[in-house]
Amino acid sequence: MIHVVYNFAVGPMVWLAFTICITGLAYRLIRYRRKAVAAKKGLPGDFRTTWAVRSMLYYLLPLNRTAKSSPWSTVAGFALHIPLLVVAFFLSAHVIMLEQSWGVAWPTIPDVWADVLTIIALAALGFLALKRLLHPALRGLTEPKDLLVLLLVALPLLTGLAAHRQWGDYPLMLTLHVLSANILLMLIPFTKLSHMALFFVSRAATGSDFGKRQVGAW
């Protein structure tokens, strides 16, 4: 039984998940572009590319004010994202799967690293969840779905770690891992996780505006 589910999850469902994720994000970007062009009413463009790029770099490096005003949350943010992306793209198991189906491959990270990174990411998620529950102002702002998103991101990490460390029932953990990762991918375009693509758009839009207003990157 579990094998049937597993085969479906690593087969057709992966395709479905990636298709939904990528077309969904592409749709959102195209929709943004269409609306932005309409709002310009044919005026000549005055987008400030340099400022837009600087704005993104300021956050990603991070040189921005947020890093100083909310250092812990910023650390947690980076401690979540860097491992998440590194493990997703460079875990040997992931790259091998890609090689088997598409024949492309790139260097991978040692598995111990992956474990450590995953634990860091989970700790960061834990911090973000706790902050949401304990910080008085943030608790008022938080909606149930915000916690759900954190859980959604935590699930593939947890089950992936469990599978690799052989905690619990291996086939079950692996199946859960693939299932939850697929669900996460499918939900990206429809939740605030769409920031994966729109972060750059948002930061660019505001950065360009601030550039126009001679305020500069922040």
């Binding site: 102002a137 605030k192 948002s202």
Partner: protein
């Protein structure tokens, strides 16, 4: 209060520009913008986190405008009563979300539903009728300018205050209170520009460059106010318009 749901859903659709849609969907309610807001700095309550200002708007979109009056009243109180649209929070948001722009859109919804705060509505009416938001007449304006110029000429005999002069380099504009309540301000501007020796003019018709439509979130009226000043500046062929202080 009964709600004209048609107007409401039309307004919501109108306002749903590229940025608004994006920002409403990517705000992660992480609360980092809190550091930006002086309402929060003065009194750290959940309602004072900038992202909270857009909750009523999100609510409206989620329910596609099928709401009762209390939702709209909350929207009005939140977006007019707890935000100065100063944009400080944007600098603290990891995504650079423009809360001020969203509040502006929310105010636009309130305006469309007839919920403009009375003080703003009154000023806006004045601005559209008289060309300035305090209802100063053209005669009063010209008289005030003349009076302040005479005062200034006592210290600066060469001082001038050209009116409606075509082809000047700068068009000088004011806040109506400079004319109505604090003519000393007008004196100071004339003194500075005369001392600097720039080639300026004023307009007897469009001298108020403030825009209450922007504050109210009423884009239609804001556009009319801006057009009044912009058309004048173009007619006078000035190179630059000096805005009110």
């Amino acid at each position: 209060m009964t709600i004209d749901t048609q107007t409401l859903s039309r307004t919501l659709a109108d306002k749903a520009g590229a940025r608004l849609e994006m920002w409403l969907s990517i705000c992660s309610r992480c609360g980092m913008c809190a550091e930006g807001c002086h309402y929060y700095a003065s009194n750290p309550r959940p309602e004072h986190v900038p992202a909270f200002r857009v909750k009523p708007l999100v609510d409206l979109y989620k329910k596609r405008g099928q709401v009762d009056a209390t939702v709209l009243e909350t929207l009005r109180d939140v977006c007019y009563g707890t935000c100065t649209m100063c944009q400080r929070c944007t600098m603290y948001c990891p995504h650079g979300i423009g809360i001020a722009a969203l509040v502006h859109a929310a105010r636009g919804v309130a305006v469309a539903m007839g919920l403009t705060p009375p003080g703003l509505a009154k000023g806006l009416e004045n601005a559209l009728e008289f060309g300035n938001n305090l209802g100063v007449t053209e005669d009063d304006f010209l008289e005030t300018v003349e009076w302040q110029l005479e005062e200034l000429q006592e210290e600066m005999p060469f001082a001038r205050a050209p009116m409606d002069k075509e082809g000047a380099e700068f068009l000088l504009t004011f806040h109506p209170r400079d004319i109505k309540f604090y003519p000393q301000n007008l004196f100071n501007y004339l003194k500075l520009y005369n001392a600097a020796g720039i080639d300026f003019t004023m307009s007897s018709k469009a001298w108020d460059s403030t825009n209450l439509g922007l504050f109210a979130g009423d884009v239609a009226k804001a556009s009319r106010l801006a057009a009044n000043v912009a058309d004048t500046a173009e007619r006078l062929k000035v190179k630059a318009l000096i805005t009110a202080e």
